[in-house]
Amino acid sequence: MTREGPVKCVVWDIDNTLLTGIYLESGEQPPGADPVLAAVLAELGERGILHALASKNPPEAAAHTARVTGWRFAAAECGWGRKSDALARIAATLGIAVDALAFVDDDPYERAEVGFALPGVLVLSPEEAAEAAGWPEFSPPVITAEARRRGEMYAERQRRQAAGRSFGGTRAEFLETAGTRVTIAAAAAADVPRLHELAVRTRQFNSAAGPAGAGMTQDWFRDLLAARDSDVVTVRLCDAFGDDGMVGGCVIARDAGTWTVPLLMMSCRAMGRGVIDAVLAWLARQAARAGARALRVPCVVNDRNVPLRLALAAAGFRVPGAPGAGDAVSSGQAPAMYTHDLAPPLPGLPGWVSAPGERDGGAA
């Protein structure tokens, strides 16, 4: 796979990279932070880029590095295994694609190992990383309030996941217990930068990811806000562990008889928290109330957005005339037309969802 899109997380080596020496060889006085790279950490963090550590050191080295750089790392892998394996685990922990990672290490052998095993990762020496703040891969087109809080939100996510693992009940029960609130609302002009950011950043939950989504600029969203036969919708999420802000959105094209959703997107941070299911159920209910008989979500089929296809299948969407099971799914072609027949009974909506047309917090 080749690189596409911006870097979402930089994975840093510790010895002679973020630290000005070798942790285990420095005795009583562990080395301090490299001042240039500490400034790069802060600059990229402001832009919503996450930082993680991968080091052949005991875990205390990660705690020391966090202390001297003043940075809270979203993930840390300390051990003596291959760094490419550490990067794959970090990507899985954070719920992002491996090729949204960059990797910085002073050791050319480690850089070669990661570059060979994970060709989608942007591999940099510390000298290159010092310059990286000016590179397009590290310059997201817009920086939103959600982006600035991203590092903090991953820490909240780790606490939420730990609570979820020890909970024992069903996921629906956990969401209820965690005080989950999903708020679906009509978009306003101030929402456009974040909507655009979601359109370009999301991969796993993006019905138009890739070339099909290339035209979804801020102006495209502004034109839709003014259009009479379209709706732009925002989705916000919070719970007792933290406020994730706007995590998703969609565009609805209303036509007599059929509603079509040319764009449905959600941050993978909201995965497993009932958000995409709530949005799909609300869309079906709202379309049916408006008299539509079918709801359609054209969805590009690729190996990245399998989570979105799972959500569509779980919500009862099917592709009419699709080849039967066993025929290979062709990807990169025209979008598949996922369709929901709006005959009753309509899907229910949990009480913790508030949305237009749903009375009293959307209780089903």
């Binding site: 909970f167 796993q204 497993g272 989570p307 299948a313 099971a325 290979a328």
Partner: protein, 96 residues
């Protein structure tokens, strides 16, 4: 291709149950009958657990469910998924 016998599907179903129970932390999923709907309330497969399950199937049996079934109809029940996987499992990707 391994022969698609009822034994193959039953063994796959057992492995899928064990995986679902460990991925969700819900021990009762070790005992779901084959006819149980995966997306229904009993199992409550969502996009997160579904993605983990499909990744595990690919790793353990070498079967790319999402790549071979656009509508994911094979995920209707535990039994349909186990049969789908058992028919396509590659012997060299066999599990424990």
């Amino acid at each position: 291709m391994t022969p698609a016998g009822p034994d193959g599907a039953a063994s796959v179903a057992d492995q899928l149950r064990a995986f679902l129970a460990s991925a969700t932390g819900r021990d009762e999923l070790r005992h779901v009958p084959p006819g149980t709907a995966l997306f229904g309330t009993a199992v409550g497969l969502d996009s997160l657990t579904g993605t983990l399950l499909l990744r595990e199937i690919q790793r353990r049996f070498g079967v790319d469910v999402a790549g071979e079934d656009l509508n994911l109809d094979s995920l209707a029940t535990l039994g349909t998924l186990a049969a789908f996987v058992a028919q396509r499992a590659r012997p060299d990707a066999a599990g424990p």
